[in-house]
Symmetry: C2
């Protein structure tokens, strides 16, 4: 296990790629110093489990790079993904030492972990971590509620289109591409992971992706690289109000 967890100690928060978006976003230099003392980095390979639901978890953490998933599993094996964790997202719950969900690295992953006790103590003293964490939690709650609409009411085609639109949007945000041009990005998830996220089977995911391809809404290079020639046409398939802030 230690093999895959090289120590990245001493890395300076000032150079951190998620400094301005993570739970520490509002901290001043004093507070950052405090955090530095309780932090340590951990790395995971794609496919590794970060924690199992029900396990004790002595830290909370921010995703620094890579992607992780939060999933729930029923006794008979049915699985539902309940969160997709991207860089700067927060993992764990202050005040609760036991994980509520399985956390899995779907790509190579680096996390910035804070020892639970000092982190909780800090939250009592300084408001900045609290305020930022509240803001992030409210955002996650909104995202979860949007996903509830998707899971409860959307058709399989709408579900796939919605997921692709979200991934495309994320890429737009990252790479600041010109508006209106074709978008290209890599799917970070396997078909099975997409199925778990969307409440579908792997076969239905595959069929709907093929259908979107047939209809010219997307193109595929291999099985992972997606090109969206016209994002507006894809958005029309999501079932959402047109123009969710994505185009002009």
């Amino acid at each position: 296990m230690a093999l895959h967890e090289p120590l990245l100690h001493g890395k300076d928060c000032g150079d951190c790629p998620i400094r301005h978006r993570a739970v520490c976003a509002r901290c001043d230099t004093d507070e950052l110093d405090q955090l530095e003392k309780m932090k340590f980095y951990r790395s995971f390979q794609a496919g590794q489990t970060v924690v199992w639901s029900g396990d004790r978890m002595d830290f909370v953490a921010s995703v620094v790079s890579g992607i992780a998933t939060l999933t729930q599993t029923m006794e008979d094996g049915r699985r539902q993904m309940v969160g997709l964790l991207l860089p700067s997202d927060f993992v764990g719950r202050p005040g609760r030492a036991v994980a509520s969900y399985d956390v899995t690295a779907v790509s190579d992953l680096v996390m910035c972990c804070f020892r639970r006790k000092p982190f909780e103590d800090m939250m009592l003293g300084t408001p900045h971590v609290n305020q930022r964490l509240l803001e992030m939690t409210l955002d996650e709650l909104d995202a979860a509620r949007e996903w509830m609409l998707l899971l409860g009411r959307k058709t399989a085609r709408e579900k796939i289109a919605s997921l692709l639109a979200i991934l495309a949007r994320r890429d737009v945000a990252l790479r600041q591409r010109a508006r209106g041009g074709p978008l290209r990005f890599d799917l970070p998830l396997t078909r099975e992971e997409m199925a778990d996220y969307l409440g579908l089977t792997i076969e239905t995911v595959s069929r709907q992706i093929s259908a979107l391809k047939r209809d010219g809404l997307i193109q595929l290079e291999g099985t992972r690289q997606v090109t969206v020639p016209d994002i507006r046409r894809l958005l029309e398939e999501t079932g959402d109000d047109s123009d969710g802030g994505m185009v002009g």
Copy 2:
């Protein structure tokens, strides 16, 4: 409109039935005084809309008594309930003046409203409201994620059983009934509201309730009053791990 909104000003926070569970739970007397100055009560009749999604909302609020729902509606009319608001639950998002969801009173409802601006100002100064709101938001996020599993992976029968179990549990908590005995409670929701909550049609809700009745898992008095002779048998139908803290 004023007809249905009698002014309940001046009511003392000290006597408030949700004093110890709402967003103000951790406030000291000074902070309560501050809140008293920005608060006002509003009442709604069953069926009334509190706010429409997209509307400006100049307050945030706590449910004092009654039940409200949070719903999203798609352009073609498909609806998904994304939250059920019970006494002490919080409505609105600090820092956002526009409602994200439709809020509807499903029973007669009293809300304790705080004017937005002073409330937001207070959150910057004192940590207690912030801390409590974070805790409540994390609880809501957990509930939303549990609901994602239900919406994405559970069968219609499991969905109905899960909802009934939750309502039964809530009643246990309120009335502190003896363990093991039969439970009786009133459904706060119509079949249509249940359908919107569970991602089903009204007909499927009705059929599954009839099926649970046929199988002796529940009894019905009229259309709203439910008796659960053996809660464990009902819990077995939810698909969840047995014994979610409900029975000793």
